[in-house]
Symmetry: C2
Subunit: 240 residues, 2 copies
């Protein structure tokens, strides 16, 4: 929550008075033709009204009426490994922070302390994603924008999370194993080639697309910057 | 996040103009002695300055300077079963919501969807409390007041949670099995008597007090209303 500092109110008071007293002096001069009277009225007004304005500002700051809450939402970035989810999530978080919004990034790193046990069976993955979804919805209900980036390959758990949230934006970064491989600096695809890693969505297991997905981007045709700009424009337009 | 609605700014504009123009008319009359001139200046000022004021307000609303964030904090209510933790947590949440603060209640009910598996061994309880603490600290860092009510009998996990949070207020509701029994409408103590429930902190297992605890209330000497008032006064004074 925010409040106006006293210094903010003081500076606002001065900036208003400068504007307003200039108007008064002009008006009095135009009506009376007396420059001396105009300046005298202006000077007295300068002092009296600054005090009155400051008190008026502080009074309104205590009043709830007309304070509109800007809605929060959940951006859920999904796609196969090395499709750009984490980078996109970080780029969006950075841009939205500049809008003075509260952001919480959710990725495997963030939620490790909360939900450490993650298996790779369909059931375990779905359970993990549903828990992250619960967390995202708690954040959203409290006015925080949650930006989640998870492979989340199963339609079932993604739809479950959508059901928990008020404003849910699913962003699917569509890629192929051939294309994603170039972004792999960890030897992930080499280990797949050697048979050390199996059951990878988008590689040897299907990624389940949803009909509901707000935005799907073919990453072979879109740069992350283009995707970022599109998602940012979408949420700013939808939830402001 | 909040913004001022246009209606709020319009009403604020009118309330200010009423105050300010009355001052101007008085000043002009005092200086010129002409009631007609005073009213003419007043009328023209009325229209011109309302427009200028509205624009000035909207301009300042875009400016970040002097917007001070009011800090969030974690209220951690701990104590043996039936010491009044949940009721106190709900009372505090209700009062703080009236202050237009964002509140998230955390109790066993809230966190069930996030952390379902809860055993009763020392290790399991500590792990559960630490996870809840991670959640509380995420909320606090995003400006939300977290009010947690858990038995949390072990000093180790409570101190761990304190370390995660910026502003941590531990409230210990101290009770005895004899006293707590009167609030038990669930037959909990009967089942202890029959030997069906064991290892209950404060009954047949020690509750570990911390030296750091901000506030400890002997519930045999304090009503929940008194405790509520004391905690509320403390957090309002410490974090505003």
């Amino acid at each position: 929550m925010y409040r106006d500092s006293n210094l903010r109110t003081i500076l606002k008071t001065i900036s208003w008075r400068f504007t307003a007293t200039a108007t008064t002096v002009t008006l009095v001069y135009l009506f009376t033709g007396q420059i001396r009277t105009a300046i005298e009225v202006g000077l007295l007004e300068l002092v009296a009204k600054m005090i009155i304005y400051y008190v008026h500002e502080k009074g309104w700051a205590r009043l709830k009426f007309g304070r509109v809450e800007i809605p929060a939402y959940v951006i859920w970035i999904t796609g196969m490994p090395y499709s750009g989810k984490t980078t996109l999530g970080n780029m969006l978080a950075e841009s939205l922070e500049k809008d003075q919004r509260k952001i919480q990034r959710l990725d495997s790193h963030t939620v490790r302390a909360l939900f450490p046990e993650t298996g790779f069976s369909r059931e375990e993955v779905n359970r993990h994603i549903k828990r992250v979804g619960h967390l995202a919805s708690i954040l959203e209900k409290n006015g925080i924008i949650a930006i989640a980036s998870f492979v989340s390959p199963y339609a079932e758990s993604r739809e479950f999370v959508r059901g928990l949230c008020n404003n849910f934006v699913e962003v699917h970064l569509q890629s192929t194993a051939e294309y994603a491989r170039q972004f792999d600096k960890d030897g992930f695809f080499e280990r797949i080639d050697k048979g050390e890693i199996k059951d990878v969505p988008g590689v040897d297991r299907p990624y389940e697309h949803c009909e509901n997905t707000e935005m799907t981007f073919d990453m072979r045709r879109n740069s992350l910057r283009q995707v970022h700009d599109a998602v940012l424009a979408y949420v700013r337009k939808s939830y402001n």
